[in-house]
């Protein structure tokens, strides 16, 4: 099944760069907005990958263009800081969410598979002794 899907993913899309990989991984469970992606990437990478907003949105723009992710909006009453407002004066702003497309799932799966293959090969070659 994986091999079949592998053929559908253009070869230039993989291997994914580390930030891109973690962004897709962050979106694998459910859709997220920009800040949630930023924090999730940091958590998933155990603090190794800390994205600037410029890097994050540059990557999101590329992934949208490649149709690996899609954007959806969600109306919510929020103040300008993005947190739920407690005052009566509120600004209605559409919050943008990003989610993996089916194609995006295949891309992520292919890359995980690729890394799995590399890991399996390395384990087989090195055996229990290690390097």
């Amino acid at each position: 099944m994986i091999n079949q899907e592998f053929e559908e993913v253009p070869p230039e899309l993989t291997p994914l760069r580390e930030p891109t990989f973690f962004i897709l991984l962050a979106l694998s469970k459910k859709r997220k907005h920009g800040y949630a992606i930023l924090k999730n990437v940091e958590t998933l990478s155990e603090g190794r990958v800390i994205l600037s907003t410029g890097t994050l949105y540059g990557a999101l723009a590329r992934l949208l263009e490649q149709r690996v992710i899609r954007k959806s909006a969600d109306d919510s009453e929020e103040d300008s800081s993005g947190s739920k407002s407690r005052s009566s004066i509120t600004v209605v702003r559409e919050r943008k969410y990003y989610e993996l497309t089916q194609f995006g799932r295949r891309v992520l799966e292919v890359d995980i598979n690729r890394m799995g293959t590399i890991l399996a090969t390395a384990s087989r070659e090195l055996g229990k002794e290690g390097i």
Binding site: G34, L38, S52, T53, G54, T55
Partner: protein
């Protein structure tokens, strides 16, 4: 305090991103930055540490800006040259749309862009016609800078014709700065630069202006920025030149008419020179109109270079009449290459995209 300062600085940093990228993601990026800043507000963190973390967050944005900018450029490039989304139309009543390469200027904008050529031609033609027709001598000799005899030789009213044109160009430059340097404004920019250069090199009515000659153009831009209360027009000037190098060619093209006039006319007018100036004015203004109405880079290059080609032919034909054959031809051929100099930016831009999209 620090949070609002950093947010303000970040907003300025955001303005440097390409327009369409900003249309799509600018607001979200700002929100995410604000949320990330407020993420340090947890109880227990000493204020000094919190401030350091906030500063580090901002400097991370600055540090990764060049790469993020290239990615944003690549994204904008991939979108093609269609009409921009309406989301940014709030800036200066939609003048932002003129920064797009693929947009054709309206007839009104095209006429505004051709106006400095027409005004220059008209002013100098009137100067010549007045001298030839009613034997009025201008108060100032353009070439040697001497005050001439006559009733209008008071220092306060010297240099009437060229100063008048310079004033119009500077006003156009001010207006262009306020509007975020749309394509038509490059004609005013070019002609103002020419006059700045011209007056900084010589003695005029016994006065050496030197670097002060640049002051009106410089002041117009500063005043424009102050009135706009933003550095955005300057960013748009750079963006415009980066997206469409022919804008700089157009600014250089604006040198042609004053250069032809001040180099080849000695201000002792004869009728054939007036015909020549009339012809050059109409031709160069038509080139400006064609440039501004063109939608593609090639169309714009051909508009400007085509006009210069006609000027070469005119120079060859005119050579038999006024004996200025070689100067006119060599001047216009030199101009061909001069106008193509900004193409280096286009090549560099192409190289950047070719590398960044790999």
């Amino acid at each position: 305090m620090l949070g609002s300062l950093l947010t303000r600085l970040f907003s300025h940093l955001l303005k440097l991103y390409p327009d369409r990228f900003l249309d799509e993601f600018g607001r979200e990026m700002r929100d995410v930055f604000v949320q990330a800043l407020s993420g340090f507000d947890d109880i227990g963190t000493p204020p000094v540490i919190r401030k350091l973390k906030m500063a580090r967050l901002f400097f991370r944005e600055v540090w990764y800006f060049p790469l993020a900018y290239l990615e944003a450029r690549r994204y904008q490039f991939s979108l093609g040259t269609g009409e921009p989304p309406a989301g940014r139309a709030s800036y200066e009543q939609g003048e932002v749309t003129t920064t797009w390469v693929g947009r054709r200027a309206s007839w009104g904008e095209a006429l505004i862009g051709a106006l400095p050529f027409l005004f220059f031609g008209l002013a100098f033609l009137l100067d010549g016609i007045t001298e030839l027709g009613v034997h009025y001598r201008p108060a100032f000799n353009l070439l040697d800078g001497s005050l001439l005899d006559g009733p209008l030789n008071h220092p306060a009213i010297i240099l009437t014709t060229p100063v008048g044109v310079y004033v119009v160009c500077v006003l156009g430059l001010l207006f262009g700065t306020l509007k975020g340097f749309p394509r038509w404004s490059y004609a005013y920019l070019g002609m103002s630069l020419y006059f700045g250069w011209y007056y900084s090199n010589g003695r005029f009515a016994g006065v050496v202006y030197g670097s002060w000659a640049w002051l009106p153009s410089f002041a117009a831009i500063i005043l424009g920025l102050l009135l706009a209360r933003s550095l955005q027009p300057l960013a748009r000037l750079l963006q415009g030149a980066w997206n469409d190098w022919t804008r700089l060619s157009f600014a250089l093209y604006a040198f042609a008419l004053p250069a032809l006039t001040t180099v080849f006319l000695d201000m002792d007018w004869v009728a054939t020179q007036l015909y020549g100036l009339f012809f050059d004015t109409v031709l160069l203004a038509a080139g400006a109109l064609a440039f501004l109405r063109s939608r593609t880079i090639w169309g714009r290059v051909l508009s400007l270079q085509g006009i210069l080609l006609i000027l070469v032919v005119k120079g060859i034909l005119g050579g038999w009449l006024d004996g200025q054959f070689w100067p006119a031809v060599s001047f216009t051929i030199l101009f061909f290459s001069f106008l193509l100099l900004p193409a280096v930016i286009g090549l560099f831009r192409w190289g950047v995209y070719a590398l960044s999209s790999r």
